[in-house]
Subunit: 243 residues, 2 copies
Amino acid sequence: MRFVSETCSDGVCEQLFFLNDVPGVLWTPEGAAGTRPLIVMGHGGGQHKKAPDILSLARRFVTECDFAVAAVDVPNHGDRPVDEKYNRIGTENQARVEAGEELAPLVAAFQALVARQTVPEWQTVLDAVQQLDHVGAGPVGYWGVSLGCGLGVPFVAAEPRVRAAVLGLGGALASAADATRITVPVEFLVQWDDERVPRDQSLALFDAFSSADKTLHANPGKHGDIPASELESSLRFFSRHLA
Amino acid sequence: MRFVSETCSDGVCEQLFFLNDVPGVLWTPEGAAGTRPLIVMGHGGGQHKKAPDILSLARRFVTECDFAVAAVDVPNHGDRPVDEKYNRIGTENQARVEAGEELAPLVAAFQALVARQTVPEWQTVLDAVQQLDHVGAGPVGYWGVSLGCGLGVPFVAAEPRVRAAVLGLGGALASAADATRITVPVEFLVQWDDERVPRDQSLALFDAFSSADKTLHANPGKHGDIPASELESSLRFFSRHLA
């Protein structure tokens, strides 16, 4: 784990790092010492580890909950190099959709392929981050919607250290099989007028989680319109389950 | 408005009253003076104004939010006399179901009939309670699930003083028409495995509310199994919208 920068502002220290060429960021409370809960955050498609929504919520986890937060760039996103393989599949999928094929199964297959790379990457990051003195091996949560749900469901299913997850804006076609392996508490976000994930697909994914403690929060609006009250709710959810 | 008893314990004063022969209860903070938000609570079928779930949540509204709370017995419930008309309809409906008729439309028609009595009763209670010095004409919320939703939706639709509502465990067949007239913020509770309200009926009722600010919270479990975290959420919802 190679740290390349550290800056602190308004109570939050931000450390940029590389781990096996994967660029990541760790946020911790200024002056933090000792073990604390850690939230792994997965960014959305076309975004990156410091996208405004991620950064803003990460800072709240740090300042309001005293948690640590880690996020890394997904392949072909952020500070990672162009990946010709994924680009080629993307271009092929676009052509197939233009030729009349359905988009959703193609996206599902693509996310499954990327997850085979990101799940072990994120597990390695978790190993490394939890060895730092100011993070430690405390309880772990996962927060991710949209692509962060598509890649997050297989991660949470595979990773026993994750004790609670906020997921959402994802559908059963891509994620139901892995979701059945999840038994930790889940808060699942649905945008009622999501133009990208059909409503019945969202409800079917919520249905698929094996967690006894799961809750679905649906709000009006399109894919990107999660209301501020849900971010408040994420803070409380993790405070309840990790603190 | 005729008060018949007043008892105070652990910071909550409970006043039992009659208003035009309707028995009711008002909870306020001990030593309360001046105007405050008021929550009207509607109890479930077969229950009453001081059923354990109502009483416990009402006390939390008072102690944690400094609100006033009022609840009255629905006709044929609690301290109200037996109503032969409703009993007769109930018996007839039971016979019709045993003869093969569908239950849901009969319940919907029955609730609509009862609501024609309860909506004006509750409005009269609101008039009277808001004239008390320790309640006043502050913002009003409504909380009710199951029968409290079936009677609550027409009440909230009819009553412009209600500024926010928690509703749930109800379906579109009974309530969608009135729900389209509701535009205030709504938090709507769904039990994912509700044995009494079909899931698609619940989702369709949520869909019907005209409120721009509405949120659906679904949790696993049967009709009566609302988790404690949702009661916490009701407290925050009203704090956000009324305080």
